[in-house]
């Protein structure tokens, strides 16, 4: 790793895509060509130029000595909810007019967290609140780029469906106590919603066809209203949009396969699909993929029958299987999630790694670009310290399109930059500004004040002997006529202060509130019993020699 520094420097100046990067002396897990010991990966123009032993690079190439390290394809998370400002449009049972692309949040910190866990591509899906959800967005975790720049260019569009408990719950009185219920409230209803929507979509397509025919025939015709809710469904019918369906139970999986067969479309993936092992043959013969968890179950009734062998069993039955996160945290260790299938079900190293690389790439139909380390594919790579399919694996470098997006060193530099910026901002934050100039307003009233209170009957001559400590005020009030009274509740805020004294002139104790504002060596304010009319008060500060220290008793 001795050549890291120049690499980081060059990458921090900008994307030097024309440059070559050679990662050498590594154990390269290609997924498609097995694991190559002591091999190199050559990156050129953001793509993998070559993989193998004894590769040579251009003289000005950046060379990374990855001795003792492993290189894998970037991890692909086939079920994610990061990077979006909203996830569910659950108010309606069909929300196919909505889409994650409209609400991508490239500043979501989970992008960076997952990137640091080796994830380079994520399928950001709508939630599972309704039978037909919103359109998904496949993104590359290009941290620092804009929403549009994060989109996986040319990824086939998709949509989220959902079956079972989450979708029927808003229709169940128990859960909808004080709110309008939303159809459906049963699995039968879920099927009905989906079938009705596809029927509507077919009618919609037919209405456009009728219009086109009329127009072609020279007949008078107004085009149908564009329906953004039905168009995605029409695209599914035409095979132009991938359908990713959240599901758990075997019966609902079979239900959706029947619906698809009836309407003549193919389901791209079953998501979660915890009972997939029960109907793996049916899933495989439909041609759908399955994207599941390694060993996450029993968090609700429909998840009771899950087993950790699910991924392996489905794989052996010919299903294209991936393991996903559905969680910004879980996404950070998908390599380990995949590894569990070697223990539970005996998948090979390549099969296990494919669950989080090549297989999700195939499910999302982006495997011509990513998912394995092969010449011509995008240089989305993870350099691991320690064996990637173990709990000791730590991503040391994460590349997307041949650019280093994460490394502990780059992270450290980033943190330094941020701390520098924090200092700059904090400096600005305490900058003069108007309140700051009130600092000039903060006065010290410590000392003796000659004060007159102008009551209707007479003018009282008093002396305030004040001691200020921050915002609190202590001292006493001296009247030649009435005596000396210690002050309490003394407060000072800016140029304004107040305190109370208790006096007794033979009619029982009374509390007098004194409030004043200081201007230079003058004060103005009022004094009086609380709740009664206060009398105006004026005062002048005495020169300091008459201050508290010498004032004393008389």
């Amino acid at each position: 790793m001795k050549l890291w520094i120049p690499l980081i420097l060059s990458l921090s100046i900008g994307p030097l895509l024309a440059e070559e990067i050679l990662i050498q002396n590594a154990t390269v897990m290609t997924v498609t060509q097995g694991t190559l010991e002591n091999a190199s990966v050559l990156i050129r123009d953001g793509k993998i130029a070559a993989v193998g032993r004894n590769l040579s690079a251009a003289p000005d190439a950046q060379v990374i000595d990855a001795s003792g390290h492993w290189v894998t394809p970037g991890i692909i998370d086939c079920h994610s909810h990061i990077a979006a400002d909203s996830i569910n449009e659950g108010s309606v049972n069909v929300s196919s007019m909505t889409g994650i692309e409209d609400v991508l949040d490239p500043s979501d910190f989970n992008i960076y967290r997952d990137l640091a866990g080796g994830v380079t591509t994520a399928n950001v899906l709508h939630g599972s609140a309704n039978p037909i959800g919103g359109k998904n967005a496949v993104i590359k975790l290009r941290w620092g780029k804009t929403a549009s720049e994060m989109l996986f260019e040319g990824a086939k569009p998709g949509i989220k469906f959902a079956l079972g408990e989450n979708t029927k719950r808003p229709g169940i009185p128990l859960y909808a106590r004080n709110n309008p219920r939303r159809y459906p409230s049963s699995r039968m209803g879920v099927e009905d919603v989906i079938r009705s929507a596809f029927q509507e979509a077919k009618d919609y397509v037919a209405s456009w066809k009728r219009y086109e025919e009329k127009k072609a025939g020279g007949e008078r015709a107004v085009p149908p209203r564009r329906d953004f809710r039905l168009e995605p469904l029409a695209e599914i019918l035409r095979g132009e949009r991938l359908l990713h369906s959240h599901c758990y139970r075997a019966d609902e999986i079979l239900m959706l396969i029947r619906v698809a067969d009836d309407f003549g479309f193919r389901i791209a993936t079953f998501q979660h699909v915890l009972e997939g092992y029960k109907v793996a043959r049916e899933i495989a013969s439909h041609g759908a993929g399955a994207s599941t968890f390694s060993d996450w179950w029993a968090y609700k009734v429909e998840a009771y029958d899950a087993i950790p062998h699910n991924a392996a069993i489905m794989t052996r039955k010919g299903v294209l299987v991936s393991i996903n996160s559905d969680s910004a945290e879980e996404a950070r260790h998908l390599n380990q999630e995949a590894a569990k299938t070697m223990r539970y079900g005996g998948l090979s190293e390549d099969e296990a790694l494919a669950l989080v690389t090549l297989n999700p790439a195939k499910q999302l139909q982006i495997d011509h670009r990513v998912g394995s380390i092969e010449a011509g594919k995008d240089a989305d790579l993870v350099v691991y310290r320690n064996y990637p399919l173990s709990v000791y694996a730590v991503p040391e470098m994460v590349f997307i399109d041949g650019q280093l997006y994460y490394s502990p060193e780059k992270d450290r530099l980033r943190m330094q930059e941020l701390e520098k910026e924090r200092e700059r901002l904090l400096e600005l934050d305490k900058k003069p500004k108007k309140e700051g100039e009130k600092t000039g307003d903060i006065v010290d009233v410590t000392g003796s004040w000659e004060v007159q209170v102008n009551t209707p009957e007479m003018i009282y001559d008093l002396r305030f002997e004040l001691q200020q400590d921050g915002s609190s005020l202590a001292g006493r009030v001296v009247s030649d006529m009435l005596g000396t009274f210690p002050l309490y509740d003394g407060r000072i805020d800016g140029r304004q202060f107040s305190f109370r004294i208790q006096v007794d002139v033979g009619e029982g104790p009374q509390v007098i509130l004194v409030e004043a504002t200081v201007e230079g060596d003058r004060l103005r304010g009022s004094a009086g019993q609380e709740g009664e009319d206060a009398a105006p008060m004026e005062g002048k500060k005495l020169p300091s020699r008459a201050g508290l220290s010498q004032g004393g008793e008389r």
Partner: protein
């Protein structure tokens, strides 16, 4: 010390309060011709004229320049040493609208209604595109005076609820009726990404965007269907009339831009994308992070309304809480946004965004402290705003033929101690009460609110006076009227801080106007204090709130 300090001063109020017409410093009969002589005139287009004269005739600027002749009959105002600026424009606010409960003209989806049906929900609540802010102006809103006193002569008023919020209106802060105030009654179509609760469509941001997209496409389709129908009505089923789609016609025709709130980079990006996709004009409001997408903004020509309500420091945070750099940057650099946009060549103006009138100019000043030139600041707050809102023919600069909206200040507006003396709106002069230099600054602690109606009794010896107060409170500023059985009198210099208040009004006892000061403290629904007449004395005052 005595238990009570008894007042023996007589409050000689005479026998009657005079009617309001005879009171106050603002002349009611407005002469149509004024000449401001010898001022420094900041034109608003970047030009500054020294020792110049501005002639105002019948509400318009008749002429401006150093050598301008003063027409006979003009009311001459000596303005040597004074600065004249174009009246400032608050480029987006909902001040000036009648207060009323949230409208629900259309849609509903309230409790008890099953919401599974798409068709019912899709039109949705929150769709008030047919509503016009110009129909719901409140010319009597006392708050408007505080805006005028702050140098803001013109407001761009929009409703503050719904997704499609309705068309917006540009008004001058002058006029007895709403109609007299209107300068441009269809400036933009205001929209917002407002969700309607999880259970009513649209219940999410992506739902709102989908709803905006569908509705705008529907408006286009509506036009298509009607055009075809009107070409030959016979033989075609008539399209359904829809007043919302009807009111969106100028939007899809490109005459009325959409006005979208967008503060963060991604919010601005998504607003630009939506408008470009649907093919409608676009203005974004917010803009603290607009500099990050400056290139896109400049290339698309989309202007930005920059908020003058800067984010506040979190109050009393946990000592171990460290503000994230991204949040700190957002907050601290917010006043720098305008300067960066000016540098990047993006068109922008300012809007108050809920900040109070007294913060308008001080917050402009903060933008200047953070890199915006004074010229650009004035231009943004006047001519640029006028251009963005499509009223640059009438407003925004001190040029011949434009509406005479002017500020007369005793110095450079960006100097802290500069006071605005007069504001002309539509050629009508309004005196600005000089700011009470209240002790401890303007930091009126938000205490008890005095807003509302109060019944007062002033106990002068031998006689008690009943009167009522109608007050509105905007932070530390009190406005309203004092009503006696003889008439109502305008209040001025009203301030409130914590639970204390003070306000003034003028009466004439027959020997010229006298100033009466009411001051005291409020405690719940009662107040107590004193009424003071200059040179005569004061009397105790008690009051209670009238529900």
């Amino acid at each position: 010390m005595p238990r009570k300090w008894i007042f023996v001063i007589v409050l000689a109020l005479g026998t009657s309060w005079l009617p309001a017409e005879d009171v106050g410093a603002i002349p009611r009969a407005v002469p149509p011709l004024y000449a401001l002589k010898g001022a420094t005139v900041v034109v608003g287009n970047g030009q500054v004229l020294s020792n110049a004269t501005v002639v105002i005739r019948d509400g318009l600027i008749d002429s401006v320049g150093p050598g301008v002749a003063i027409p006979p009959g003009a009311w001459e105002i000596e303005a040597a040493g004074l600065y004249v600026y174009p009246g400032l424009i608050d480029a987006l606010t909902s001040n000036g609208l009648k207060k009323k409960p949230r409208a629900a003209e259309r849609g509903g989806g309230g409790p008890g209604r099953p919401s599974g049906s798409q068709e019912e929900n899709e039109e949705g609540p929150g769709n008030y595109a047919h509503r016009a802010a110009s129909d719901e102006l409140d010319a009597d809103d006392k708050k408007l005076e505080s805006w005028r006193n702050a140098g803001v002569s013109t407001l761009h008023v929009a409703h503050a609820d719904g997704i499609f919020r309705g068309s917006t209106v540009v008004v001058n802060l002058n006029g007895q009726t709403a109609d007299q105030m209107i300068v441009h009654d269809r400036a933009t179509m205001s929209v917002a990404f407002e969700t309607q609760g999880f259970r009513t469509y649209p219940g999410s941001l992506m739902g709102v965007i989908a709803h905006l997209r569908q509705t705008l496409h529907d408006a286009r389709h509506y036009r298509l269907a009607w055009t075809e129908y009107e070409r030959e009505k016979r033989g075609m089923k008539r399209p359904q009339t829809d007043r919302i789609l009807e009111s969106l016609q100028p939007v899809v025709e490109g005459e009325l831009p959409l006005l979208l709130p967008a503060q963060r980079e991604r919010e601005i990006g998504r607003s630009l994308r939506l408008c470009a996709e649907v093919g409608v004009g676009c203005i974004v409001a917010g803009g603290f992070e607009a500099a990050g997408v400056a290139d896109e903004l400049r290339e698309s020509g989309v202007p930005v309304l920059v908020s003058l309500n800067y984010p506040k420091k979190p109050r009393d945070p946990h000592p171990e809480d460290k503000e994230a750099v991204s949040e700190l940057r957002y907050r601290v650099d917010a006043p720098a946004a305008a300067g960066k946009l000016a540098q990047a060549g993006v068109r922008f103006a300012f809007f108050s965004d809920g900040a109070s009138a007294t913060d308008f100019v001080p917050n402009l000043r903060k933008a200047v402290e953070r890199g915006l030139s004074r010229e650009d600041a004035i231009r943004a707050a006047s001519l640029s705003a006028a251009e963005i809102l499509g009223v640059q023919q009438q407003l925004g600069s001190i040029e011949t033929g434009k509406i005479a909206n002017l500020i007369v200040a005793d110095g450079d507006l960006f100097e802290e101690d500069t006071q605005i003396q007069k504001v002309f709106v539509d050629g009508t002069p309004f005196e600005v009460p000089s700011k009470p230099k209240t002790a401890g600054g303007e930091q009126g602690t938000p205490g008890a609110s005095l807003a509302g109606r109060w019944q007062l009794t002033v106990e002068a010896p031998g006689q008690s006076y009943e009167m009522s107060l109608d007050l509105t409170q905007d932070e530390g500023i009190l406005q309203g009227q004092v009503v006696t059985d003889q008439g109502s009198l305008e209040i001025y210099d009203g301030t409130a801080s914590g639970d204390t208040f003070s306000l003034k009004f003028q009466v004439d006892f027959g020997a010229g106007p006298q100033e009466v000061t009411l001051s005291g403290t409020i405690s719940g629904d009662s107040l107590s204090g004193s009424a003071t007449v200059a040179n005569l004395g004061s009397a105790p005052m008690q009051g209670r709130r009238v529900p």
